[in-house]
């Protein structure tokens, strides 16, 4: 018998090369542009797809291995959570509303990202980016699944988490995240990669994930911390991909610079507007606070983002004006967003409330220039109204921004007492936006945004189940009186206190 020759093990670099290069072929009976129809029209020029470098050098076999290990740990903890009544260990019943916002607003974006990256991966002729996009696509699907499974434990005990998929495509405040991804997915593959991979995953993702996950840890929600950890190593890979996309595009051709800069300007703003919901969550919804939105913005955008854009200067990239505007607004948007959710708390599938006096003191300390001057009187007045049995609910539907779809509550960057009104005329119709940046985005591609499915207008057109609040909520699949209204007097609150034995 012949002795078996020892199998020669490839080193990591060679493995990566074998598993990610030379996989494509030159088509012989179809023209290349018919196979890759989306690769030219955005104006991006790529000369050598093999210049794509993936710093992680992750191959499919090791990908399955790592992810499989993480899944095993995750599901063991989810089981333990269910067996040990983990739903009672959270700081208090207000915290649960963070999870409602997450499963309604964020998890469906993971699913949207899964679809978007699958599409982008298919569109690229180069094997390196295709594989990176394919893995991210699978990651995003996994995140959606793990979040749905984790939060399903809470759904057994608390209201508002029963039908997020249905709600996501219909509810007024969820049209904000939904339209963000619809905008990205209906763009070309390069814009999608810059929008999602770079502007969102790289510049802004820390503002989404860190507050949610540390917020969960501070508030006793170990289940959410667990899926956060399970997603973390994926997130760092996504950030690296995002940065690689930018560098690759800028190094391939100088003509790509103005296109990429335009996308950065657009998507940093779209992302910042979307994160208004996170700002409100951090400053108002977490019973035990991690840090303020203003502090998070300083750390992750002004400091880290500042360094990043300094680094990109050598390619000719400048920091988007949008981020400078958002820095001016950082002391306002969490208060304005929460006040809006409070206004329309009858039409939300989570509960809202006036912050406690202690929480207001925390706000004063964190926002010394703005809270006492502009926002405390508003909340104290609402507290008095509630005490008098007249909890304030705004009775009329708000005007929405045509671009970000958020109610027009943002104030002028130079004057926090005045709503920022901007408008454009296009083919005989008026369109209203909440800011200079949303107006610029609209004006750059009006034909796209005139198609916006604005929830308020859809209700008035008769497309949302009826004209009354009750009809619309039914169409949203909300349970009137259980999912909506103030936290005080809610079923969640009654149950939580009963289960905890609080009097």
């Amino acid at each position: 018998m012949d002795a078996k020759a020892p199998r020669k093990k490839l080193n990591l670099k060679d493995r990566y090369r074998h598993l990610t290069r030379g996989l494509e072929w030159d088509p012989s009976y179809q023209p290349r542009e018919k196979i890759y129809p989306y690769i030219e029209y955005e104006g991006i020029k790529i000369h050598d797809w093999d210049k794509w470098e993936d710093p992680f050098r992750l191959t499919m076999d090791s990908y399955w291995k790592y992810q499989g290990e993480k899944e095993r740990k995750l599901y063991a903890i989810i089981d333990a959570f269910a067996q040990n009544n983990g739903h009672l260990n959270v700081s208090n019943e207000r915290y649960i509303n963070v999870l409602k916002l997450f499963i309604q607003g964020v998890s469906p974006l993971e699913y949207a990202a899964h679809r978007g990256f699958a599409h982008a991966g298919r569109a690229f002729p180069g094997a390196g980016p295709r594989i990176a996009a394919e893995m991210q696509s699978i990651d995003e699907l996994r995140h959606f699944q793990t979040q749905a499974h984790t939060i399903s434990n809470y759904n057994k005990y608390y209201n508002g988490m029963h039908d997020p998929g249905h709600m996501h495509g219909r509810v007024w405040y969820l049209s904000v995240p939904k339209s963000f991804f619809d905008d990205a997915m209906s763009a070309g593959p390069f814009e999608f990669m810059v929008a999602t991979g770079f502007a969102f995953e790289y510049v802004l993702t820390n503002l989404l994930f860190v507050p949610f996950m540390s917020g969960a840890a501070y508030n006793g929600d170990m289940a959410t911390v667990n899926f956060g950890f399970s997603a973390q190593s994926d997130e760092s890979r996504h950030m690296t991909l995002g940065l690689e996309v930018i560098k690759f595009l800028l190094e391939q051709d100088p003509d790509n610079l103005p296109i990429v800069q335009g996308w950065l300007d657009k998507w940093c703003w779209r992302g910042t507007r979307l994160l208004s919901l996170v700002a409100a969550m951090m400053d108002y919804m977490l019973p035990k606070k991690v840090m303020s939105w203003g502090e998070a913005w300083e750390m992750y955008v002004e400091e880290n983002g500042g360094a990043l854009f300094k680094d990109l200067e050598r390619y000719g990239i400048t920091m988007p004006e949008a981020l400078k505007t958002a820095t001016i607004e950082k002391e306002h948007i969490s208060h304005q967003t929460w006040a809006t959710l409070y206004n329309y708390g009858a039409a939300a599938a989570f509960h809202t409330w006036v912050p406690t006096p202690e929480e207001m003191d925390w706000q004063s300390e964190k926002y010394p220039n703005t809270f006492d001057k502009y926002y405390r009187p508003r909340f104290e007045h609402w507290a008095e109204m509630e005490k008098a049995g007249e909890r304030f609910y705004n009775q009329t539907l708000p005007m929405l921004c045509q671009t970000c779809q958020i109610p027009m509550f943002f104030t002028e960057p130079s004057d926090p007492t005045k709503i920022c009104y901007r408008e454009s005329d296009y083919k005989g119709n008026k369109y209203h936006t909440c800011s200079d940046h949303c107006k610029t985005i609209f004006d750059n591609e009006p034909e796209k945004y005139i198609q916006a499915w604005l929830p308020v207008h859809q209700i008035y057109q008769g497309n949302c189940g009826g004209a009354g609040l009750e009809d619309v909520l039914k169409w949203y699949h909300f349970n009137m009186g259980r999912d909506n209204m103030d936290i005080n007097g809610s079923e969640d609150q009654r149950n939580f206190n009963m289960w905890k034995g609080n009097t």
Binding site: R378, H381, M399, K418, I419, Y421, E447, H457
Partner: protein, 119 residues
């Protein structure tokens, strides 16, 4: 600038006038009263008198604010698309020049919201 696309890219506006069953949209904001977080959207028939907006609609919208009772309508001012505007209450919305999706704001001098916070 146009949308970059792989083919002809032209669409009907989702919110064209014909979709509102005889109504037109009007947006109304009350300056310096941000307790109402954003301006409001209304579907109104174009032949509705502007006076009806003032007497039949706005009290139900803004009446919860302590400043509402204090408004001196003789001293108040209107803006349409940010420019001074002088409506005639007896005339209809259309006769006052209001078109689909116009935005108007009223300013009530001396009233600066709850404890002067513009709320």
């Amino acid at each position: 600038m146009a949308v970059k696309s792989i083919g002809p890219y032209e669409f009907e506006p989702k919110d064209k006038l014909e979709n509102f069953h005889g109504n037109q949209l009007l947006y109304v904001g009350w300056d310096d009263h941000l307790m109402f977080c954003a301006p409001h959207a209304f579907p109104f028939p174009p032949d509705m008198p502007f006076a009806a907006v003032l007497t039949d609609v706005l009290p139900g919208v803004y009446g919860a604010h302590p400043d509402w009772e204090k408004i001196d309508w003789g001293a108040s001012k209107w803006l349409k698309s940010g420019e001074p505007w002088y409506p005639d209450p007896e005339k209809s919305l259309a006769e006052n020049g209001l078109k689909h999706k116009d935005v108007i704001r009223f300013i009530t001098p001396g009233l600066t919201g709850i404890k002067g916070s513009y709320s």
